[in-house]
């Protein structure tokens, strides 16, 4: 084959062709279709009409949309927060343990192997009002008097789905945080010790600033994923009760599969994407700020 005779840049173009095809075909076209459809009335029962921004305006004014937006924000903020609260101490502990740390790391990774839909089933089972082990634990230690129907009430249901989601995200966040922590030279801590700093000061002035990159990246990815993955909610509560855990993703699904209004579904998807980008932009701003 006469590959040698092609110039370097042509070679690059040729070889990266699959990637380009993906960009255009797989992402570009669906994106254009998505935005296009969002301007239409497309409900299979009536002829397709151009509506301009009507779908967006309708959703903006729609109570259900606003409620689900609120739920989505609550959900992703809760999940990210919970993930961080669990991951940081874990990473910190792992960085201080010498013996057996590899084994421990392996164990910490396990929840990541769990598909989110399965996590929903697992936690749904543990939170079950009649048979759930968590109810048994809570009642036995006297936290509650009798079984709580976690999934039957909106606020506890939201907590339950947050837990089911965050649980799978802790390993990833831990790894990244750990990488950030381990990259910090020990001598910095030693000199801080000499100066009499306690752990809070060390964390605030040494650890967090220096590990900012990986931690913020981890948080970004965790939030973006929590924002956009609804599998755990699907299997745990399916958006209930009384739409207590109804997030934008579920609204999207309902418009596609229950109400069959594709134009509105597309508009919901676009709103979702825009908010995602906004969140990412915020993080990136903090990442780049020195």
């Amino acid at each position: 084959m006469k590959m040698q005779s092609i110039s370097d840049s042509k070679f690059g173009m040729l070889l990266s062709l699959p990637g380009l095809i993906l960009l255009v075909l797989w992402v570009g076209i669906p994106l254009i279709i998505l935005i296009g459809v969002s301007f239409l009335k497309f409900d299979v029962l009536q002829p397709i009409q151009f509506l301009g921004f009507d779908n967006y305006i309708y959703l903006f004014k729609d109570r259900v949309f606003r409620d689900s937006l609120f739920n989505t924000l609550t959900f992703f903020a809760g999940s990210t927060l919970l993930t961080f609260i669990l991951a940081y101490p874990t990473a910190w502990s792992l960085s201080r343990i010498r013996k057996g740390s590899t084994t421990l790391r392996t164990f910490v990774m396990f929840p990541w192997a769990v598909p989110l839909i399965v996590s929903g089933f697992i936690w749904g089972w543990m939170f079950n009002a009649a048979y759930g082990v968590l109810n048994h634990v809570f009642v036995s230690i006297g936290l509650f008097e009798s079984n709580v129907n976690f999934i039957g009430q909106s606020n506890t249901a939201m907590l339950a789905v947050i837990i089911a989601d965050a649980w799978t995200r802790v390993p990833f966040m831990t790894i990244l945080t750990l990488a950030g922590l381990e990259a910090i030279s020990g001598t910095l801590y030693e000199s801080a010790d000499i100066d009499g700093a306690d752990i809070f000061q060390k964390t605030r002035y040494i650890t967090l600033p220096l590990a900012k990159g990986p931690i913020l990246t981890g948080l970004l990815i965790t939030s973006v994923f929590s924002f956009r993955t609804i599998d755990a909610i699907f299997s745990l509560t399916k958006g209930g009760p009384a739409r207590g855990t109804y997030v934008l993703g579920m609204l999207n699904l309902d418009y596609i599969y229950n109400y069959i209004e594709f134009g509105r579904a597309a508009a919901v998807s676009v709103y979702l994407a825009l908010i995602c980008l906004l969140i990412a932009a915020v993080y990136i701003y903090f990442l780049l700020k020195e």
Binding site: M1, R63, S146, Q153, A242, G244, Y257, N258, Y259
Partner: protein, 485 residues
């Protein structure tokens, strides 16, 4: 070097071919275009109505030519086959008659409508028939969208032989029939005699007002004597099953929901019913857990002995009478073995209540719930023909007798009840047939699913005291009006 490159390219090509091959798996080859269905003569060898309502179902002429080449048909069954012994038996019979294997997927009612719509919107050929588990709310939309295959066996005579409360729902504007009834469930009122007696309820409740009083007494008594997880009355408030409680409240006052072609729950009767059911939860007579219960959950609570009363399916008589499925029923509330009114345990069944004493007995009405069954218009003609035969068989007297006896579903063909052999095998025949006689059927215009979701959501919030009930109903109805504009 070139060799390595070629190997890589070859590998890629092989992989691509593999993927394509796998891609082809899901598609069936298109069959010959001649419309196989036309080969069937539905009124031969006897008129359709006779083929269906005789003691044994008779296949129509031309069925074998129409289904030539079809070995197997596939449909979505609502829920698991374990709970459908009649369906299983009917499938066996069909397979014996035609030699066509019937395959099914057990799809839980949570996702059944979604999967059905998926098949229809994507014009998928591989699913030939689908169950619609909330017929009244879904049929108009499906038929209106042209998504159901017309069923030629719905001749005028056949239509006359089947309940005129239901047949219009199965018929399109063009007068053609587009669905049959898969399974049908009327509602009856269940109670535990020993419980009512222990709680000091003197008379078996016949109105909803009396039910509430009795439920309160039973609830109070149970909380003191049995435990926290015993309830006066239970009902489902998750998903459209809630409507099957709200609507009887309205029908029992002699009113209807659909007015001028759209549902209106904010009428005087609607408000009564709404306040009643939210009130049961707000006053603690029914637990908040009802918000997470579907038709299966709340009836299981009753048959496990944790509730004094319920408005439940007629099918549940079979569950209550089964010592394995409902051991608690075989005992009374004090744990002593009990024979009960018909010797099947401490439970009894009466017609659904009327609203209050001022109503006539003809208003002892509940809603009739049925699964509709339809054929996928996008499937291949021969398979559609086969599935049409299957649908027709399922609504015959022979198949319906199995539904009645083996599963306790009500028979879609009313004549089934008159058969003495059938009569001696079903429990509580009198209240059940009375209930079927006074039951109400309303069919809901497209958009009902969305409207139901709104109603269910506001019910939940009103029931836990988040909003005032009447305010919730106002808001819900105004959003529903918005959907139907």
């Amino acid at each position: 070097m070139t060799k390595r490159l070629s190997i890589v390219f070859l590998a890629l090509v092989v992989m691509l071919a593999f993927t394509m091959g796998l891609a082809a798996e899901g598609q069936k080859e298109a069959q010959d275009e001649q419309n196989a269905i036309d080969l069937i003569n539905w009124d031969a060898p006897k008129p359709a109505v006779e083929r269906l309502t005789g003691d044994k179902y008779v296949l129509p002429e031309g069925w074998d030519a129409a289904t030539e080449g079809v070995d197997e048909i596939f449909y979505f069954n609502s829920g698991g086959m374990g709970g459908d012994p009649a369906t299983a038996r009917n499938i066996e019979l069909f397979e014996e008659m035609t030699g066509i294997t019937v395959k099914w997927a057990e799809v839980s009612s949570e996702i059944l409508f979604q999967k059905t719509l998926n098949v229809l919107v994507s014009k998928d050929k591989s699913v030939h028939g689908m169950s619609l588990d909330s017929g009244p709310y879904q049929l108009e939309q499906i038929i209106g969208a042209g998504w159901a295959e017309p069923m030629p066996f719905w001749t005028d005579e056949v239509k006359a032989a089947y309940p005129d409360s239901i047949v219009p729902t199965l018929t399109g504007d063009d007068g053609k029939g587009y669905a049959t009834v898969d399974t049908m469930r009327a509602y009856v009122f269940y109670y535990r005699p020993s419980w009512l007696e222990a709680a000091g309820v003197e008379k078996v409740p016949e109105t909803w007002m009396e039910v509430r009083e009795a439920a309160k007494k039973c609830n109070d008594w149970a909380k003191e004597n049995l435990g926290q997880d015993y309830y006066g009355i239970v009902f489902p408030a998750k998903s459209y099953n809630l409507l099957h409680m709200l609507q009887p409240g309205i029908y029992s006052q002699g009113a209807r929901v659909i007015q001028d072609g759209a549902p209106n729950y904010n009428t005087p009767e609607g408000r009564n019913s709404w306040e009643y059911w939210t009130g049961l939860v707000r006053d603690g007579i029914a637990p908040e857990a009802v918000l997470g219960w579907t038709w299966n959950d709340y009836q299981n609570v009753f048959s496990r002995g944790k509730s004094a009363m319920m408005l439940g399916f007629t099918t549940w008589v079979n569950v209550c009478a089964d010592p394995e499925k409902a051991p608690a029923m075989q005992e009374d509330v004090f744990g002593e073995p009990a024979e009960g009114p018909i010797g099947k345990g401490d439970w009894a069944v009466i017609q659904p209540p009327k609203w209050d004493a001022s109503e006539p007995d003809s208003n002892r009405s509940a809603f009739i719930d049925f699964d509709a069954f339809m054929v996928n218009p996008f499937a291949d003609p021969a398979q559609k023909a086969a599935m049409l035969l299957f649908s027709e068989f399922r609504m015959s007297k022979q198949a319906m007798a199995n539904e009645l006896i083996l599963e306790g579903n009500e028979a879609f063909y009313p004549g089934t009840y008159k058969d003495p052999k059938v009569q001696e095998q079903i429990m509580w025949a009198e209240p059940r047939s009375k209930s079927v006689a006074t039951t109400v059927m309303e069919s809901f215009p497209p958009g009902a699913m969305k409207a139901n979701d709104v109603l269910i959501e506001y019910f939940g919030r009103a029931a836990i005291g988040e909003i005032d009930p009447l305010e919730a109903l106002e808001k819900a109805q105004s959003e529903i009006d918005g959907i139907y504009q």
